[in-house]
Symmetry: C3
Subunit: 466 residues, 3 copies
Amino acid sequence: NTDSTNMRLRLPLLCIILEVILIILFGTLVEYNDDTHAKLWNENRTDSATRNDHENEFYYRYPSFQDVHVMIFVGFGFLMTFLQRYGFSSVGFNFLIAAFSLQWATLMQGFFHGLHHGKIHVGVTSMINADFCTGSVLISFGAVLGKTSPVQLLVMAIFEVTLFAVNEFILLSILGVNDAGGSMTIHTFGAYFGLMVTRVLYRPNLDKSKHRNSSVYHSDLFAMIGTIYLWMFWPSFNSAITNYGDPQHRTAMNTYYSLAACTLATFAFSALVNPEGKLDMVHIQNAALAGGVAVGTAGEMMLTAFGSMIVGFLAGTISVLGYKYLTPVLESKLKIQDTCGIHNLHGMPGVLGAVVGAVTAALASPDVYGHGLQRVFADVETGKWNPQSRGGFQAISLAVTLGMALFGGLITGFILKLPIYGAPPDTHCFEDGLYWEVKTFQYHFYTLTASFSERGWLDTEGTKAL
Amino acid sequence: NTDSTNMRLRLPLLCIILEVILIILFGTLVEYNDDTHAKLWNENRTDSATRNDHENEFYYRYPSFQDVHVMIFVGFGFLMTFLQRYGFSSVGFNFLIAAFSLQWATLMQGFFHGLHHGKIHVGVTSMINADFCTGSVLISFGAVLGKTSPVQLLVMAIFEVTLFAVNEFILLSILGVNDAGGSMTIHTFGAYFGLMVTRVLYRPNLDKSKHRNSSVYHSDLFAMIGTIYLWMFWPSFNSAITNYGDPQHRTAMNTYYSLAACTLATFAFSALVNPEGKLDMVHIQNAALAGGVAVGTAGEMMLTAFGSMIVGFLAGTISVLGYKYLTPVLESKLKIQDTCGIHNLHGMPGVLGAVVGAVTAALASPDVYGHGLQRVFADVETGKWNPQSRGGFQAISLAVTLGMALFGGLITGFILKLPIYGAPPDTHCFEDGLYWEVKTFQYHFYTLTASFSERGWLDTEGTKAL
Amino acid sequence: NTDSTNMRLRLPLLCIILEVILIILFGTLVEYNDDTHAKLWNENRTDSATRNDHENEFYYRYPSFQDVHVMIFVGFGFLMTFLQRYGFSSVGFNFLIAAFSLQWATLMQGFFHGLHHGKIHVGVTSMINADFCTGSVLISFGAVLGKTSPVQLLVMAIFEVTLFAVNEFILLSILGVNDAGGSMTIHTFGAYFGLMVTRVLYRPNLDKSKHRNSSVYHSDLFAMIGTIYLWMFWPSFNSAITNYGDPQHRTAMNTYYSLAACTLATFAFSALVNPEGKLDMVHIQNAALAGGVAVGTAGEMMLTAFGSMIVGFLAGTISVLGYKYLTPVLESKLKIQDTCGIHNLHGMPGVLGAVVGAVTAALASPDVYGHGLQRVFADVETGKWNPQSRGGFQAISLAVTLGMALFGGLITGFILKLPIYGAPPDTHCFEDGLYWEVKTFQYHFYTLTASFSERGWLDTEGTKAL
């Protein structure tokens, strides 16, 4: 079976062609923006005596960018290492498709909403936006984890990044809505796109690999590295591209409180749904993060710490309940095989976040926001602002996003179904050895001890073995 | 025995009740501060043309906050994963009690020293302070690690956070002393509180779990993730809430030098106290951090790089010697079972830090500090400043902290002794399986290889097995 | 054999003597700089009403410093944990020699190019520079990994730091060249120094330890922690000490694009050079980082995103090809045993970076840079600037660096060859047990499963064991 999954020509060819195309497009379309260009930045300085280096956007955005970067590469990468024999692929393919997506996203986002005289201007804000778009692809990766070849994943990224940019353009530029932390553009879009892709790629015989579709002790600890980094830096994620000053500050704090409340809900419901009251690492690793997703839209508004905590608590609750009761149903009834449970971490909390955003926007008033109103809601300045219509546009955006994601995922799913990408056979899903040099005995000790255990050579406590 | 430790009702009930109380109190008491409030921040902007967004405290404090946040969740969490079968609980319970404590601390610290017209004002500084208080609880957690249920830990956190806030109020607001990095308020308090709790919870039959009270190869590597992050970000910890400008800059640098010197002392004494000259991971993981603790008070003063290095070297030395010679005596003579050796990492170095702070304060003079004096010592502005009395107040603060910690730990210990929290039996301490879903065979290979080794099936080199 | 490698006296003695010397030298030579000194910072404030705390270099440099710090301690430390039985030493010795080197580097760099009236002034910039110099030592450590005692490593650090400071002085102060990210001063110097040291320390019988000179499944995952952190924070590394404003911003962005392109090249060529098209963790862990090395000199110039991507792509390509085809030749023909393959990650990409820097400097013009020219090329202000000669000086600097590194490595190698440092015997290289307390059975399960596998007790899939 190694022939059908051999990557020797397919992967190098695709990577090299893609990178050559990227280099050509960057060479013809991309330019430094005012804050990164030696001439432009220093010209402006001369013009106006009050402009100083500390006003360069680098100092307002770069620390947040690095936190987001950690979430993309360490957070998502290690979160998915929970599978016992898929650690190399989880971190490695995450690395590959993220490195591609951030370049492609720079072009697509620039093309749709960043052209200046026909050129795409880049700087730290475009870097953050590219990382955000990449996050959406990595969410979808979670749904198909273990069941796809790296070539398939790159092809998925090409389409998903493009559609992400279109959807983002509709929401932010046409409808003019708020979604700084991406409850809709990133989480809802990435989740439903990925769920539709995995639906189309449904494998009726995935059972043949089920002994590998679970964690072992140390792989769960590696996954916790991903979880904790995502959790800690989520305040930076949601606040990375809000306006300077109070909006950035407030967003970070609202997210912090939402996540704290979410964590308590996660532990509570994880113990409650287990007959022996035992906690489940799957819940802790994932549901505790739902609070960050759910304040992705409203975080920059005057949601208050109190409101953030309520939203976070709800998000954690629905996420745990989703893992316990909904995921099995999605698989058995709707044929959606969602390896990481992205519906529970990004799907439902993303929709919750969109609704909370719509309601919070509809409740906004000059009394509460003062002169800060126009710094949160862009259309205040144009004079068209009206809280009810603002809330309405937020709600419409959710519908648009769901439509785009499901439709895009459907098309992309069928493209990925072509038998040319070297996808793993049903018997070899969730297995690093297919695409990586692995000294096979290295993970056999799990099997070995399992066999011994079944034979009674090890007691259940493991303390009086043999 | 699973009945007595079943968390199905206890843990959810406690988590949900606590979070509901927190939400209600936040709803009635907590408000955005000037820097996070849309109206207030932008009103001030209009009043004064010179105020700019870059003056928002977010840009001075948030990068430090994120470093502190990493120390709390990754640093403390992974440092405690050294136990072979307690990794889920170490990271997981750390996560739970930290998420609770930071919310509760915001209320308690706000109540004692942050009320504005009856309201608690929150922003990035309150977030750092809440994380600091949480750090104190996690220090105490280290003493009782492996011997407590999550319910017990939450109850401990309720009391410890409250007493922490009282002690901090006495030191900072009444006595007006300096303790930016918390040698006293965080480390000394957390350590002696935890030591007293574990003394009250003394288990004469803990031997029954001793085979699990040790590390294995990979668990020690996970623990090093915690150590290294604590070590790297300690300069941010000590400088996070000092005044802007030179104090913040100087504190970070002093801490950097103290830690570097401490590391050399740790390696030196770890090899020296071992008959074969072999290094002990316990020392490297813990004692190398004592240098950060020991400049927690004096770091913001003109301690000089040279002085910082002497303090760091001393701290590393006493910490290693403590692990080697004092911890066994504390256990056998004083019945203090200190799982992580917090007395060596936080207790003694904290006291050292308090003394160094008192001496450095007593030596301060306008000659050395110039106009910077009032930016380090708050009472210069009130005219009451006098270096000797300042040093004296610092010393008194240490005594107050020790008293508060020991008394608070005593009371809390007795409360935790009630047989209602589902504490683990003596035979099942240091064991994840009690509170977590664990596929039991997963950590059996350690036992298996140990058994084989004892039977001579594996030689001591491990290279010619079987 | 434990006698000859016993560290009980050697290591403590060396550590304590070194630290005492450091403390004495710091006490006599080192002073706070203007931005860290309570008196000096606040004096200047009074003199000029426009100077504000936010102008303290702390706020421009400290976030970058922390990212660099993470690269030094987590990045390098964990990258080297890939060996199956050398994780304690990789992280631990990395920790020790880094903690020493940063102190020693502060003195050496200060002595050669930072004296003010006979005193060394320290602040966040000196901290970054000291970390940079430490990076160079850790690169060399990669070449001799597993074959040296901690005492040897400290002795190597003493000499390497000193020569690094001399070379840096020649390049930056005498020749006045640009090398903000250290393609030459850090990577080329560290690599060729280390390669020469390992050449002199050549072990003809290293085969006796070859069964330990490889990775296992989980050690490769630990190593990926190092890789990913190095990759993410490299933009901060290259931009940490450039001028404020556009140069810092531009450097970070150029590095980001170079690394992204490098990652695609790495995956492409890793699959291409393997007969079965399987990816090799050694390539992913190392070659994907070469893009950061290769824009270390030119990153601050107007290289453009497009140029950065070409450089990154080339760097990844030569790095993978080096691992596959050059490393075996270096070992068999030139007797250079390069454990981590530093020639492929730092050597060749460093030279490439120097050449790219020379070319980019030679192409610089006022048309492109405007008033920003003098902020990148220091000699513009002195009026001596001329793009061709600038390019020429850059090229000369590469030659100087190679000469200094090879000569320094040769001398240091012979000093390290003296039989007094407790180096490991050929039979016990790549083995933690020599210098660390290790419960030996802990890593035996690898051997155990290997034995079982050889006997056919485990099939190659590991799914139907026994």
